[in-house]
Structures are given as C-alpha cells and as structure tokens.
C-alpha cells in the first residue's frame, strides 16, 4: 500500500511538473507556491522525526528570502549564489538560535520556536534601512541563473520544480540513511538512543540545521518569484501551516508532508486572500486530526479495511432474516 502511495504521489508530481505550464500563468503561479510549500513541509521532517515540535519554520524561510533578495537587489549577484547565501545564513541563524533551544524538550521547545518567528519577523519589521520594514521590500530582480535571467513565469516554474526535486531527493536520502534512522530513534525513545551512545543534542541540532537550510532555499526562491517581501508574510500563521502540512499529510512516511502540502494548498486556493481560505484550511485540519490521526496517507488503507469489513460482514444473515 505504501509503495503504491509513493508511486502515485511521484506520478502526480511529475505530471504536474510537466503539464502545468500548458495551463497558463495562473496555474503556474499556484503550483509554484505548492512546490515551495512542499519544500517547507518536507524540510520540517528531520526535526519532527527527532521529536522536536518546531512551530517556527517560517523564520528561516524569512532569513533565506531577505538574504537572497537583498544580495540580488544591491549587488546584482546571480541566483545560484544568493540562493546558497540565503540557505547558509538561514542555517547559521538556525544553529545560533537552535543551540540553546535544543536543550529544551517537548512543549518548551515548541513555544520557543514560536518566539523565533516573532523575533525574526520583528527584526525584519524594525530594521527599516535594510529591509524597508513594514512598507515591504520591492524591486527584487527575477532569478538570474547561470547568466540567464528567467523572464517567463514558466521558466521560473521549472526552477521551482528542479529545486523541489533536489530538496526532496536530498531529504529522502538523509531519511533513509543511518543518520535518518538515528534521528528517528531519538524521536521514538531518546533515553534509549542516548544509552546506545547517540549524541542526542548534536543530532537534534544537525536535523534542525538541515531543515533550516532547505527553508532558506524555499525562501530564496519565494523572494525572486513573488518579488515582494513583507514581514507579516512570515508570521506565526505560515509557521503553523508548515507544521499542519506534516500532520494532515501524515507523520508516518516521507510522502506525508508532500501530500499534506499539496492537498491543503490546492484546497484553499479558490478562497485565497479571503477569510474562507483559513476557515476551510482549519476545518480540514481539525477533521483530519480527529478522524484520520495517521494523516491522509493512511486514507487508502482505511478505505480498503472498510471494504474488507463490509465484504466479510455482508454474508452474515441479520437476525430479522
């Protein structure tokens, strides 16, 4: 069943990657944002696998976005450099704030990550000479990749696809590696992992830094795609959305956040900008948590179970018959 789900998800992503540009600029825009959300959601997984509930991921997206945008705008650096700089600075900031925070467990950590979001957002809002504060940073150049400026929306879309493919590949390989198994063991039983000689703090920090790096990548692309940055765009709501993608999609498998990000981004799209976007979003979230605790990826399994139950239950004659 899992294998089938993975294949279906991969097939859908591949078809979307190839066919969406034929549908016009609106769909290109929507799906590029879906891919950004996929990177963000998948990059939260290493931390979640370590048992760290991170509700502050949008802070690192914010660092990546502003770094890349400012370097490209003021120094006309190419996208490959600004992307790397944004991702690395997001990682460094992640290491600086993550080091003290990772000594905390469970709910304490979750609440401190909420504080990160506010700290980064407030810095972006207060540091007006650099970020233009709450008036927003505009005039961000289009991505200039290897000497070519990606003028058309569809070329930028393929860039998003490529970045998503690379990010997912790296994250997937990491999760399947010995390192990923160690992370998982910390999430399942950190005392036991420690007793086997695992350096918990170092591994948690590494998982956190990996997540920050890819959040920075997503942010950098976002900056050059939307070409306008506004501190409230990186607030608490975005951070919780990233977490929610993981829970709604399902925490049990690597494709969970991918399914969650795609499903929720597309579901709320018709209502984008209105309050109903968030209303639908939150209802979907609540229903999934209450009735499908394993997330959407467990839905096919549940349906199959139901069908099997009906098939076995049907031949039994009812007492009335």
């Amino acid at each position: 069943m899992r294998r089938a789900i993975v294949l279906v998800v991969l097939a859908v992503l591949a078809v979307a990657a190839l066919l969406v540009p034929l549908l016009g600029d609106y769909y290109i825009h929507v799906f590029a944002l879906v891919f950004i959300n996929i990177i963000l959601a998948a990059s939260l997984r290493p931390s979640l696998n370590c048992g760290q509930l991170n509700i502050g991921h949008s802070a690192f997206m914010c660092v990546g976005a502003y770094t890349s945008a400012l370097l490209a705008k003021h120094y006309a650096l190419p996208f490959e450099l600004t992307l790397l700089a944004g991702a690395l600075l997001a990682t460094v900031v992640g290491l600086i704030v993550g080091y003290p925070a990772l000594r905390l467990r469970g709910v304490y950590f979750a609440m401190v990550t909420v504080a990160f979001v506010e700290v980064i957002r407030l810095i972006a809002a207060i540091w007006v000479p650099l970020t233009r504060g709450n008036s927003g940073l505009s005039g961000i150049p289009k991505p200039n990749l290897l000497g070519f400026t990606l003028v058309s929306k569809s070329s930028q879309y393929y860039l998003a696809v490529a970045l998503t493919a690379i990010a997912l590949f790296v994250l997937w390989r990491l999760e399947r590696s010995r390192l990923g198994l160690t992370w998982r063991s910390i999430g399942l039983a950190d005392n036991l992992a420690q007793s086997l000689g695992v350096n918990i703090a170092a591994h948690k920090l590494l998982a956190f830094a990996v997540g920050c790096f890819f959040a920075g990548v997503a942010g950098a692309f976002y900056a050059h795609f939307i070409r306008f940055l506004f501190p409230p765009e990186f607030g608490f709501l975005v951070a919780t959305n990233i977490l929610v993608y993981n829970f709604v999609g399902g925490r049990g498998h690597f494709v969970g956040p991918i399914v969650g990000a795609t499903f929720l981004s597309l579901l709320s799209e018709p209502f984008r900008g209105s309050a109903y976007e968030t209303i639908f979003f939150s209802i979907a979230m609540l229903l999934t948590i209450l009735f499908l605790p394993g997330g959407l990826i467990t839905l096919p399994g549940k349906l199959a179970e139901l069908r099997w139950w009906r098939a076995t239950a049907a031949p039994t004659p009812s007492p009335a018959a």
Partner: protein
C-alpha cells in the same frame, strides 16, 4: 525618563501585567494537568472582548454583567472543547496541539465574516483619570487591577480550598492515581478547560474598552502569555503571577522608552537568554 514617567509606566505595567496573568494562569493550569499548550487561548481572549462589544455596547447591558456573561459563555465553550477535541484525541500531545491550532485559526478566520472587516471600538466604561502619587492614570486601566486580583484570589481559593480544586491538584500530581481514588478525570479536565477559557475571556473583556477589537487581537497576548509561562515555569501558578507582573513592567517601561516593537523583541531575547541558564524557567521543576 523622569521619575514621574517611570512611575506612570510602572502602574500601567502592573495593569497590563494583570491581563497577562489572567491569560497565563489558564495556560499554566491546563499545562500542569494535561501537558497541553492551549493555542486557542488568544482566540478566546478575542471572543471575550467581542462579547463586551455586543452585550455591553450594542445591547446596553451593565459592564460587569457582560463580563460575567463572557466568562460563563466561554467557560462553557471550554468544557465543550475538552469534550469534543481533547478527549477524543486521548492525550496525544502533538495531535492535541495541532487540533488546538486548528481551532484557533478557525475562530480567528471566522471572526472576519461574523464580526465584519472593520475594527470595532468599545466606548470607555470608566471615564476620567485618578491622581496616584502625583501621576495621572486613567481609571479604565486602574480598574483592571482589582478585577484581576479578585479573579486570581478566587482561583487560588478554589484550587486550594475546595474538593474539586483538590481533584485538580491530584490530577496534576498523578492522573492514574487520582482516577483510582475516584476522581472523574474527564470532568475535572473539562473544568480546567472551562476555568482557563473563562479567565482568558475575562482578560479580553477587561481590555475591550482600551484597545481596538479585531479577530487577530488575541495573538499578541497569547505570545506574551507563552513568554510568561516559560519564564515562570510551566505548570507553576506563582510563577505565572510573578512572570506576568515582570513582563507587564518590562513591556510598559521599555515600550515608553524605546517603542512597542523593540520592547516585544527584547522580551523574546530575554526569554531565550533565560532558558540558556534555567531551561525550566524561574519556578519550574520538570
């Protein structure tokens, strides 16, 4: 900064701190018993303020009657949330957290179509200013302090002097042992939800005549309450009270000197710094 200005911001700080204490007490109580962080607390604060808007301002009811009504209505809502969200999840900490986040975003987003897009204002309830040690403070802000104090003392007496309060303390110490002694854990947890929601509603109702009302108004007090309970130690009631007063004072004095956003930033930096040296807060033991 002159001495008079300092005194004035200190008194206003205590008044804001009282609001923070009301928010933080419910959070810390619910954490102590159920190990959950109620993200919906800010949305409940917002709903409390809107009850004042509709019942006191539009409906013309007496202010304190509206305040009590807000606490009763939202307390009942809290019990309902325990029954329909917390209990079915059976204590899973992460799913509960996400479900409460969902509830929060739902209440906030639904606020726009229900309450309208424009900010609402509640006219002042207590007009005028009072001279305290030579500085002028608006009665509106002063009134918050005794009302909050009554609620805090009431909660203290309830927890320490009644059978239900003893049941709450028992659950906080050991849920299974409490259940074995005949404590109905579900009902008492529901009561903790109701108390937490009612206190948050009271905080919102007290702030309604001072700040403008909009569906996102609970976000800042919620984040402040998070800082306070981290500062005071999760689950600690004295910690929440002391932390609330400290943060109220820091907020008011630094905001007067430097502006609101740097004050907010400073409180976050302060908390991250504190956690470096005392990972379980000032009064925490876990």
């Amino acid at each position: 900064m002159t001495a008079a200005l300092l005194l004035q911001s200190a008194i206003i700080g205590i008044s804001i701190g009282s609001i923070y204490i009301l928010m933080a007490l419910g959070l810390t109580l619910m954490f102590g018993m159920m190990h959950i962080i109620n993200f919906a607390h800010g949305a409940v604060y917002m709903l409390g303020a809107f009850v004042i808007y509709y019942v006191f301002f539009q409906g013309g009811a007496p202010y304190f009657a509206a305040l009590v009504l807000a606490m009763v209505l939202l307390g009942a809502f809290g019990y309902l949330v325990e029954r329909s969200v917390y209990r079915p999840i059976k204590g899973g900490i992460e799913p509960t957290l996400v479900a409460l986040l969902a509830l929060t975003t739902f209440l906030q987003a639904a606020g726009y179509p229900v309450f309208g897009q424009l900010d609402k204002h509640v006219p002042p309830v207590f007009a005028g200013t009072r001279n305290i040690l030579g500085v002028m403070i608006s009665v509106e802000r002063l009134m918050i302090i005794p009302v909050a104090a009554v609620l805090v003392v009431g909660l203290y007496l309830f927890i320490n002097r009644t059978r239900l309060g003893a049941a709450m303390r028992a659950i906080e110490q050991d849920k299974e042992a409490a259940a074995l002694q005949g404590v109905n854990v579900h009902v008492v947890n529901g009561l903790a939800f109701a108390i937490g929601f009612a206190l948050a509603a009271a905080a919102g109702a007290l702030m309604a005549p001072i700040f403008k009302l909009d569906p996102m108004m609970g976000e800042q007090p919620l984040l402040k309450a998070f800082i306070i309970i981290i500062l005071g130690g999760l689950g600690s009631i004295p910690g929440a009270i002391l932390g609330g007063l400290m943060l109220g004072l820091i907020d008011s004095i630094v905001a007067t000197a430097l502006g609101a956003e740097p004050a907010f930033l400073l409180s976050f930096v302060f908390i991250i710094g504190l956690l470096l040296f005392r990972p379980s807060g000032l009064f925490g033991h876990a």
